[in-house]
């Protein structure tokens, strides 16, 4: 049976038209492709390259600093220096006490308060005392 112009096309008929349109692929001209690529080049985002690592060059001070051991060594050195200065400028009376008399800080040659041997060791000269008592 012939279909009349009054009858709308069915889906399968219409699909033939869509299929024909799908096959009609547009081929861009070379000029268009070149123009698009030129735009792409012109508007390509500029990406900053990663900065090159700087060469590690040490100055003379940094060399000495690292040679002596850095901050811990410098702290020890400073402590020792301060202690030396303190010992040099102060009367080291405490030093005598701390050393148990091994280090004598006082002037024991001219002082009146020096002790005689019998004061320190009464038993050592005991016989003399007895002799004097016996007179």
């Amino acid at each position: 049976m012939a279909k009349t112009d009054n009858q709308p096309m069915q889906d399968d008929e219409l699909d033939l038209f869509f299929e024909a349109a799908r096959q009609d692929v547009a081929e861009p001209s070379d000029a268009l492709m070149a123009a698009i690529m030129a735009d792409a080049q012109a508007h390509m985002p500029v990406v900053d390259p990663l900065p090159a690592p700087k060469a590690q060059t040490k100055g003379w001070f940094a060399s000495i600093w690292s040679a002596i051991g850095g901050l811990p060594a410098a702290a020890s050195l400073a402590t020792a220096t301060v202690a030396g200065v303190w010992i040099g400028f102060t009367q080291p009376v405490q030093l005598e006490t701390l050393s148990g008399g091994l280090v004598l800080a006082g002037d024991y040659v001219t002082t009146d308060t020096s002790y005689a041997l019998e004061d320190l060791a009464p038993g050592y000269l005991g016989t003399t005392l007895f002799a004097e008592d016996e007179g």
Binding site: K3, E13, F17, Q23, M33, I36, A40
Partner: protein, 195 residues
Amino acid sequence: MNMALDAYEGASDEALLVLYGNGDPMAAQLLTHRLAPRVLGFATRLLGGDRAEAEDVTQEAMLRLWKQAASWRSGEAQVSTWLYRVVSNLCTDRLRKRRTVDLDAAGDPEDGQPSAVENMMDVDRATALQDALNRLPDRQKVAVTLRHIEGATNPEIAQIMGISVEAVESLTARGKRALAKDLAGRREELGYGED
């Protein structure tokens, strides 16, 4: 160079756009080869077969894509969807501007443009469909072209046109009905008179 292009062949459009955004010109080359024919085909159909104007639209749409590359938000939209939307808007603007021009005259294919369709019957069908599409309201034309020629899904069309999926279904249904009625009048001419 071709080996490098081959290596990019499996990459998605979005991945290529990110590569281009990172300063890779080869990604732009592949994207152009991949997208420009589709954009041109879509623009040509929306503009009633005006190839020269469609090429202008294609270049403009691709230019906007390049400019968008640096700020492209990953995962938000497909590159092709975004492009179809740009093309749709550009074509709609141009169609509005030339509203006074005779649509039949605008629909004539340009001389000297070889068709990719070899079969004469298919050439006639494609031409007849284009003529019928040109007589559709713009939104129906966009929806039907995207759905039945470009192969987009309804949710994609909804995203491209900025409308709901239900509105897309309504537009494509009405568009198809109008096409079916319009093309029925050319049955004899296109050799559909007999079963």
